[in-house]
Symmetry: C4
Subunit: 253 residues, 4 copies
Amino acid sequence: MELRRRLYVIIFGTDTWAGKLFDLTLLSLIVASFLVAVLDSVERYHLQWHDAFLLAEIVFSIIFAVEYATRIWVSPNRWGYVKSLYGIIDLLSLLPILFLWVDPSAAHLVVVRILRVLRLFRILRLTEFLVEEQLLIRAIQQSSKMIFIFFLIVAILATVFGSTMYVIEGPESGFNSIPEGIYWAVVTITTVGYGDITPQTAIGKAVSTLVMLTGYSIIAVPTGVFTASLASEIKSNQRSAFSCPHCGRFGHE
Amino acid sequence: MELRRRLYVIIFGTDTWAGKLFDLTLLSLIVASFLVAVLDSVERYHLQWHDAFLLAEIVFSIIFAVEYATRIWVSPNRWGYVKSLYGIIDLLSLLPILFLWVDPSAAHLVVVRILRVLRLFRILRLTEFLVEEQLLIRAIQQSSKMIFIFFLIVAILATVFGSTMYVIEGPESGFNSIPEGIYWAVVTITTVGYGDITPQTAIGKAVSTLVMLTGYSIIAVPTGVFTASLASEIKSNQRSAFSCPHCGRFGHE
Amino acid sequence: MELRRRLYVIIFGTDTWAGKLFDLTLLSLIVASFLVAVLDSVERYHLQWHDAFLLAEIVFSIIFAVEYATRIWVSPNRWGYVKSLYGIIDLLSLLPILFLWVDPSAAHLVVVRILRVLRLFRILRLTEFLVEEQLLIRAIQQSSKMIFIFFLIVAILATVFGSTMYVIEGPESGFNSIPEGIYWAVVTITTVGYGDITPQTAIGKAVSTLVMLTGYSIIAVPTGVFTASLASEIKSNQRSAFSCPHCGRFGHE
Amino acid sequence: MELRRRLYVIIFGTDTWAGKLFDLTLLSLIVASFLVAVLDSVERYHLQWHDAFLLAEIVFSIIFAVEYATRIWVSPNRWGYVKSLYGIIDLLSLLPILFLWVDPSAAHLVVVRILRVLRLFRILRLTEFLVEEQLLIRAIQQSSKMIFIFFLIVAILATVFGSTMYVIEGPESGFNSIPEGIYWAVVTITTVGYGDITPQTAIGKAVSTLVMLTGYSIIAVPTGVFTASLASEIKSNQRSAFSCPHCGRFGHE
């Protein structure tokens, strides 16, 4: 019981000397594990060092598995940790190595471990950071419904534009099917514009022009919605700090 | 008359158990019809299952035609429904199948049925959703005139830049005509950048640089206009909620 | 003198029946002249109809030359008209046809006539339009200095990034010279991304990643500056409409 | 001592006649040195004039070295100048020529001298400019923490998306390694979209669609954060200009 509590402070806490050392070691291991996966994906290194890389990933996986088990063991609220965002990420980063015997290329998925770096937010727990993060999160939540409507409209637009272009251009221009047409429409509306599929006919180019102008202008909607939410969030944050000299109420203008 | 009213509540209403079931069934049919059209556009499935797909689309079309006729019949204001946005979309989604005997590729246009999914907005009628949607729509209306001026200027810029590049680069660089030059200018100003037509000469690249910087910076205009409109809309929404403690008037600052 | 005044009202005015008819006729001629130039640029039509197109452009040019001379003659302030934006555009749209004997391809520049369509702003003179346009113009003026600094920084960034990539990648990757490197940098920073010049080496790709992230994030600066200017402009517009109930002064908060 | 002070006023000052002449001469030399480097990078001119260009760069470098030494000598706070932004840029622009004997292509790096043009900000020291610049800098500082979080999230997203696409698409589609996958993800998220690496499989295209929509929408975050900061900065700037008529305090609303 005594050990469990002490381990809890070291593993989950960030205030003690031992806790800081633990976090630093863990982050180094995560980054090292990530770099090994990256190097293993480069053919030159893969051919020469693959066995060493695989061994390293197995060692890292064992360490992270032990760490994960310990985290569950020392948590006062075990199920709470497992269900938390960090708990899910910790588990996710253990899974890819298990698929190794099914499909060797799945081993590259250990890069998902880089998600564990998000723990940095907790480690660098600066009050200001958290305040700003909360403002950001509240603004995102507040504008999430409008953003959802926006995405629904973009999805419908991409479907309609993509199907229309499939009918206009057809397979001879690279629009092989409606899903490829939708892919092209998303590439165009988001202004990514790979150029792997492009309109060849005059009418196709005219419709594309319309799709591009649509994509170019509707980006204003999520930007505007989020900016307005954030501005209103910042304002109500400042306002709530002092009361009105006339009526003593807080937070009105 | 009794049946007509009951059907009206089921088809147009969303509050009763039967109305919800009807909406759910309709949405499923719309999505199914859409998916059949999508699968039919993929060559592999088209070759193997085309007859089945065509039969399915004809069945879906008959169902939707019956539904459309019923909607007109049960509406208290028939012409009002036909002229409404939903009425037009319902009719539009029936037309493509009729062109089947003219041009078989037109059958793919049944994907326009996906527009009927917009009905979701009405089905998921949450008060908050509607409030936000109205804010959004008011902001779009309020900024529509400035956005129109913006588009007129973009169109004129694209025309002038496109013609200039046609004169500078000419057909040997892919600028085959002024319309193609305008197409290139829209691709560039909107920052889509397919790369199917690119400047080859030094002077052409210099002018392109100017076009790109123009497109990169003027996106600020619609974003700014829409954001400012929305912020002012949100503010006047909040302000109108309480009166001024000094003069009792509503809605001033 | 009597004729000159009457012509002035018809040509420059937009309130009388004759003035409206004149404006409509002029706009039609401008659009017709533009369409002839566009059609002449398409090879198919050029080969078949070039002589007819050329004749049409010469006729249009004579009409516009007569109109330009008349405008100068009837203006009370002649030099004022010649120096005005509309006067300069009117003159510019007459010049290309004169270069015809020097270089036949210059004839395509008659498309600059489309700029005369800007006259639409004056013709559709709606008070609201003008108010909004003035707000827009004031916001652009107010933010112009910050936008200038922004462009200076973008230009310097493009130069430094472009030269660095020229040294890293060199002619074998398409970076033939520093100007081409700068062209690539502008294509990348503005997120256009033609793909005609792309990094091939690992270090080049790493630097490109940095350039892309820079371009992706600094777009926030002109958007933010313009949005904030416009919001503040709209606010001071609303505020100036009524006086403060406490101190009687106008326009404070 | 007398000479040192006089030189200080000429070199660092911008108010005297001699100081303005010095600044103008210096800017001309910087631009000339830059243009020589640019011309030398174009093969045509390089083959013909390389020796002359090299000689010119050596002369420019000697002049700038003498200027740098003089700046150090006349500065009252020598270490302060060396450590200042301008001091570092001045030193940096001297280094490339020294690498000439190691690698001739490094000579092109003299273009970094263009950074010295930033001195223009100091030379054109207009009060308004500085006020706006300070507003801009404060807004950037204020939003820097949120922007940092944003970049961390973009980096993690690019890593996760890039690795996933490497596993899905593999080397046969151009995704040769995880770093190349990350490069592709950055190209896509930033909406640059070169098209040098594009998804070929159906599942790869579906995931790409998600990546594009992510990149298209999250640009709203830095734009929103910066805009809100700037708007709040401008407001507090205006507010602090007069006191509240009720309580005499400054800067509240």
